[in-house]
Subunit: 443 residues, 2 copies
């Protein structure tokens, strides 16, 4: 019945229908670029908000609040009458009929569809690790990480008061990519700076952050000189860095690296990602992470009406796969929208552009390391490798500039200034359960 109703609704329309699945960087940018075209757009996301993922770790480490880095998709798009937003989840496709099936049972008909559902954690087959070592992809993940990190200090204080001893304050981060490094720097900041005078019985400076990286280098996507700088900056923060360290098991309270047991009051996962299951559901060829192989126009094999964007797409450039970060996703979203504009034959001026294959214009990458250092590989407007305070300033400005919504920019800027000047962070709330896995009290 739902489907019949939708058919009825749809056939009364004359403009091409574009369904955008996913409200991340790719989906939002696609929708924004479709706003002025003669098409009707439905954006579907299972969340009601867009998350600015590059700052999620600051929510996890209690500097920012979720509302600072997330914005309701409806308010982002509310001034574009040709775009409607549906809070639902795509679960299947009928590629011949051009239908998207939604979780609630309804069906959306499309002339063009942009699939941009991103990626999620991969525990390399050890799904039981997920509960013991949360990753950082969503606002809920960030709140959970915050809860665990803060609870660890509370637990140690309580044990110290009651027993005169406490478990080692080891925060183990599996994975030395940008997320792992940013989490490490931020936890180190919390322990060394923001918690000062907060506890009477424990010394929070004794907390130890350990990064376990499987490959020989942290920050694999960065050039060697910046990797080296990052190592030094992490060292200065007291972060212990172990490379070629393969995690063989994760248990409540500890992590195994080969035969060695490393105590861990909190374990965090920043190691593997895999594409959203929608990639496989579509039925096209995927790589081993589940990313859909696409042609030069971001279309999967033989389907010019389907665009795969963002982390879900496997796009190679100069022989290397584009990384699953914000910039490529945004550019793919915009490209797909422009190409649809060309295909519906109305986007005067942009035709030449969209005829060209997708090309990722790389402006660079950056990752922070604590509260006043970062590494930045700058590609545009000039080429440079920066590290330390300059890189951190650049990171600051870029991230405030790209935050969606003026209110968020204002709020984050104020929050950062406050935190930086006063060494007090503002969002150090433990919500939800008060149990830490592996540390149920049993005296």
């Amino acid at each position: 019945m739902a489907s019949a109703r939708l058919n009825a609704l749809s056939t009364s329309r004359v403009r091409p229908r574009v369904v955008v699945i996913g409200g991340g960087f790719a989906g939002i940018n696609a929708a924004m670029s479709l706003a002025d075209l003669p098409v009707d757009v439905t954006l579907v996301d299972r969340k009601n908000y867009h998350t600015f993922q590059p700052l999620l770790y600051q929510v996890a480490l209690a500097v920012l609040s979720p509302a600072d880095i997330a914005q309701p998709i409806r308010s982002i798009l509310r001034d574009h009458p040709n775009i409607e937003v549906l809070m639902d989840e795509a679960v299947g496709f009928d590629l011949d009929q051009r239908h998207v099936r939604l979780k609630t049972g309804a069906v959306l008909i499309y002339d063009y569809v942009i699939v941009a559902t991103g990626s999620t954690h991969s525990y390399f087959g050890h799904d039981d690790w997920a509960k013991l070592a949360p990753g950082l992809k969503t606002v809920e993940d960030a709140t959970e990480i915050r809860r665990r990190v803060l609870l660890a200090f509370e637990l140690a204080e309580r044990h110290m008061l009651e027993r005169g001893t406490h478990p080692p304050l080891n925060f183990v981060i599996v994975g030395g990519g940008p997320t792992g490094v940013e989490l490490a720097g931020a936890i180190s900041d919390i322990a060394r700076l923001y918690m000062r005078n907060n506890f009477r019985h424990i010394n929070t400076r004794q907390a130890k952050v350990i990064i376990l990286e499987g490959s020989p280098h942290i920050l694999g996507m960065y050039p060697n000189d910046l990797q080296l700088k990052a190592c030094k900056q992490l060292e200065a923060l007291g972060v212990e860095l172990r490379t070629c360290a393969h995690v063989s098991d994760i248990q409540p309270g500890y992590v195994m690296v080969g035969e060695e047991r490393i105590d861990a009051i909190v374990t965090l996962w920043a190691a593997g990602v895999q594409a959203s299951p929608l990639g496989k559901i579509l039925g096209f060829e995927t790589d081993k992470k589940g990313c859909v192989l696409v042609d030069a126009h971001l279309n999967p094999n033989g389907h010019p009406e389907i665009f795969i964007c963002g982390d879900l797409a496997h796009v190679e450039q100069n022989g290397k796969q584009l990384p699953g970060v914000a910039q490529p996703a945004m550019q793919m979203g915009t490209y797909a929208a422009r190409r649809i504009g060309m295909l519906v034959g109305r986007a005067a001026g942009s035709e030449g552009h969209a005829q060209k294959p997708f090309h990722y214009f790389d402006k660079g990458d950056m990752a922070t390391i604590g509260r006043k250092a970062a590494v930045a590989k700058i590609e545009w407007p000039f080429k440079a490798h920066w590290s330390g305070f300059m890189a951190w300033l650049a990171w600051l400005m870029v991230h405030i500039f790209f935050l969606i919504g003026f209110r968020n920019r204002l709020s984050v800027f104020r929050q950062w200034a406050w935190t930086y000047l006063t060494l007090q962070d503002g969002a150090r709330l433990i919500t939800g359960s008060q149990d830490l896995p592996g540390w149920k009290e049993e005296n």
Copy 2:
């Protein structure tokens, strides 16, 4: 073992030990007032933060973020070296030995104890209603209410798109006290103002807020003229007010008032409160809500070393029980601390004061009704009954002034100004589950 250890710790101390149970208004004010006295203080709370409850409804209705109105107890008290904070829960007492038993199994020894664990919802024996009609006492409650209210609009939009019809957007609030009235005004604001242009298929202005009050009057603690003003202001917002309406049943999707069924896409509970169970556990006489009867010094029968403060205390003045709001709680906390100061014989100057029985100095009460009206019964510095915009301005200033923490004051002020001027609220995130009780999709 934990207890033995604590004994060892405790006997090495020479200063009197004060245990404060609860980090609400009473507990925090007690601790602050004990900061400069020659005592060692342990504040115990199961949360790591103090909640500014008068603004919780603004978190529930997505104007403010939890971190705007909550502050870690440790940071509030971090500059007072004689105060330690323990994140734990009191579960029992040994009044002869002067022990507090904690949930984790440890035991705290006290010379004086201040019990201020507040109150919780009472569903009048219908505990099964709790899941269907959440109340508003904690940050988690506020997030849950926000989730439900926002999901209701999403659900209606989806139904409208898919079926061409949607369940009535009825928000039913059980209870017409200050919380009920503030929730009603805020939901009405969201539907009429903040959601504009956000939806393509539903008209959010068709949302209807219904207050069901069991007694003949809303805002029972206010004088008649203000009750009348409040009625008019609520009417202007389109809120339907039903007095003498006794809820006989709450089910997913509807509420029964006697034999009448009222559709409710969301039901909220603002009706009854009961004292924290710790009141009963103490073993002294309690009133029917579980509040502990205390003497003029806030001590329960024959125990000058025990103080009951805040919502947990049954205190009468001029023949009326003091209401369970912030002001009396704060004053009780301060009184208990001063009296302890006198009893330990060092609080020069304040002795005369603390010898006197506790007297609540009533500065008045106020409740907002939407974004530019309120009612205020002012008792100090002059007596007046205000309503409308003036009362709302007064409410604004008082609440910013009393927020704990400069950062919060700044943040809330900025947030309010933004929301007021732009009609955009900033924290409209749906986190957690995406199910609304009674509205599982089943096409």
